[in-house]
């Protein structure tokens, strides 16, 4: 039997019995679509989840600083070091910070003490902070060395007795600063009691503020943390001494997040695998049923001169049409789901990963079709003509 005849006859058979095969087709298609979605979109999904993770402890923020030892020259992060750290694969952003242990302000005859941090414009993004009131200062404000201050909620309540502080002025280290906004998204109480001014302004105007010797790195996903931590010393050493460098990560939080994520991913894959295995059993089952219900047809075809291998090839090819057809439907559904999910989480599905999934999906479908269809096909091919023709 020629290949083109075989394919034509098999496709025709599958289409004519499409109602019988509907359940199997849907099981395999949904399984393939689900696998594609998890494989292609999980990184983007983790990235978005990671951003929200700051609310539960910022497990993917790496904190770095130079230790201040009495008999050593103080160290700080150079501009080129910052650029080098930003280039490490998996790092999404980096922020430089300088800290004044204690600053003071006067308000209506009273004095208030608080922590003052000089930060760059990336600080908000890296630490996952947003304005509760007003706005946070930007790149241009840092460049222009503006006297703007952002207050933590607790500090604002302590000084002004309210959260309506935008546009007010406060004195810090004998300079007047305009309050530009109130900081939201804080899970750390020390930040709620702090004030934030542009790093450049702090270096110009605040006496006793440290050199910018603290740095925060935001990492894309929790899977990237280990790799980034390992790459940090070399990235720093390329531009300056890393002798006093200290790197801190919330390892315990990270471990727990990874653990939870692993189980979630495991159950998703398990559920999808179960769907595909059920699809495989479905093919086996419908092909066995087809062999039984088409026994007379098999006998008739053998009486017309079909060889055992013709019957084997026909049933195997029908199983393959079923599995590959289902996989193609699954790929289409998966692509559609990728686009929809990409729209909602604000990312575009990576084409190379999609093509890999396409190839894997089709390969798996061939494996499934052959695996599930082989035994029924062998059964069909071994039938004797007379018993098949007389089958009721």
């Amino acid at each position: 039997m020629r290949l083109d005849d075989l394919l034509r006859v098999s496709v025709r058979q599958v289409l004519r019995h499409r109602r019988r095969y509907l359940g199997v087709v849907l099981a395999i298609a949904l399984g393939v679509a689900g696998f594609m979605l998890v494989m292609t979109m999980s990184r983007d999904f983790k990235k978005n989840f990671n951003r929200d993770l700051n609310l539960i402890g910022g497990a993917t923020i790496i904190r770095m600083y130079f230790e201040d030892l009495p008999d050593h020259r103080p160290q700080w992060f150079r501009t080129e070091t910052l650029a080098g750290l930003r280039r490490i694969p998996g790092v999404t952003d980096a922020s430089l910070v300088a800290l004044a242990g204690s600053a003071r302000t006067n308000w209506r005859t009273r004095q208030y003490y608080f922590s003052l941090l000089g930060v760059d414009d990336s600080f908000w993004e890296v630490r996952g902070l947003w304005p509760l009131k007003g706005q946070l200062f930007h790149d241009a404000d840092v460049e222009a060395r503006k006297r703007e201050v952002v207050l933590g909620t607790e500090l604002a309540r302590r000084i002004f007795g309210s959260q309506e502080v935008e546009g007010r002025y406060m004195e810090i280290d004998h300079d007047l600063y305009r309050v530009s906004g109130l900081l939201g998204g804080i899970t750390d109480s020390s930040l709620a009691n702090s004030a934030f001014i542009p790093l450049t302004t702090a270096q110009d105007r605040v006496s006793g503020i440290s050199l910018p010797n603290r740095l925060y790195l935001r990492v894309l996903t929790w899977d990237d943390v280990d790799r980034v931590v390992a790459a940090v010393p070399a990235a720093v050493s390329a531009h300056q001494s890393a002798d006093l460098l200290r790197v801190e990560v919330s390892w315990e939080a990270l471990k727990r997040v990874k653990h939870v994520a692993w189980w979630v991913e495991f159950f998703i894959y398990l559920a999808l695998s179960a769907t595909l295995i059920l699809g495989g059993f479905g093919i086996w089952n419908v092909m066995m049923a087809a062999v039984r219900s088409r026994t007379r047809e098999i006998g008739l075809k053998k009486a017309m001169g079909a060889e055992d291998r013709d019957i084997l090839a026909q049933f195997l090819s029908e199983a393959l049409c079923l599995s590959v057809g289902s996989a193609i439907l699954g790929v289409a559904l998966g692509r559609l789901a990728m686009e929809v999910m990409g729209y909602f989480i604000g990312s575009s599905p990576p084409l190379d990963l999609f093509l890999i999934c396409l190839a894997l999906g089709l390969l798996f479908a061939v494996f499934l079709g052959v695996g599930a269809g082989l035994y029924p096909s062998i059964q069909a091919s071994r039938m004797e003509v007379v018993s098949a023709i007389r089958y009721e």
Binding site: L300, A303, V386
Partner: protein
């Protein structure tokens, strides 16, 4: 070819073993059929008529005896060669108008051609020619389950003819048809043996159908008698 016989069967026996004992279905069958002959095989139910036909079509292997088709000992053929034999040398018509369900008349006639490796471009003409022999060319694209009993049996005859076999084996081809359709089928067989050097073996209960054949044989207790 022994004495010009197309089919030459001698001392053919088929004995089934059922665990308790043996059942001799065919005991001693000797038969010669020549090209252009239409031979009827009659006999009561269970006399082994269908078994003989299945052996002639190489669907069953006899317990002993010899079977030559056009001088060739076909009982020595292996499984692949047996399929080749069924593709090219015999055409089979079954009692129960067995057509492939959910298929058109064209598709039913195409399968023997597919298995015989006939070129795809050549198939429509061959199918049309076979259908013309049974006056059903106008039904070529109709679904087989939309045909009447008589039409289905004529399609089965056309399918047996499509590969231009040397022998047509028909197992009670008119068993489910009324008188007029039965005669129509026999007319087609008569036409076929007249046109081509073909032999037709018809198994039947019906003396009237047997009377349309050139020769009648009877099977009784597994022994074949002429006349």
């Amino acid at each position: 070819m022994a004495n010009g016989a197309l089919i030459s069967v001698s001392n053919l026996a088929k004995i089934y073993a059922n665990g308790v004992g043996t059942i001799p279905v065919l005991q001693k069958v000797n038969l010669k059929i020549f090209p252009g002959e239409m031979v009827a095989v009659m006999g009561p139910s269970g006399s082994g008529k269908s078994t003989l036909l299945f052996i002639l079509g190489l669907f069953l292997h006899p317990t002993r005896g010899s079977y030559h088709l056009a001088g060739e000992d076909v009982l020595k053929l292996d499984r692949t060669a047996q399929a080749e034999f069924r593709r090219r040398r015999v055409g089979f018509v079954f009692q129960s108008c067995d057509l492939l369900e959910n298929s058109t008349v064209y598709e039913n006639l195409e399968f023997p051609l597919i298995y015989a490796g006939v070129d795809r471009r050549e198939r429509p003409a061959r199918i049309l020619a076979a259908l013309e022999q049974v006056n059903l060319e106008h039904r070529i694209h109709h679904a087989s389950n939309h045909l009447s009993g008589g039409e289905r049996q004529r399609v089965a005859v056309a399918r047996a003819l499509v590969n231009q076999p040397q022998v047509i084996l028909a197992d009670e081809p008119t068993g489910q048809l009324d008188r007029s359709h039965s005669h129509l089928i026999m007319d087609h067989f008569a036409e076929i043996v007249k046109k081509a050097e073909t032999a037709v073996v018809v198994v039947t209960h019906d003396p009237e159908i047997a009377g349309r054949c050139t020769r009648v044989c009877s099977l009784d207790d597994g022994i074949l008698y002429e006349g």
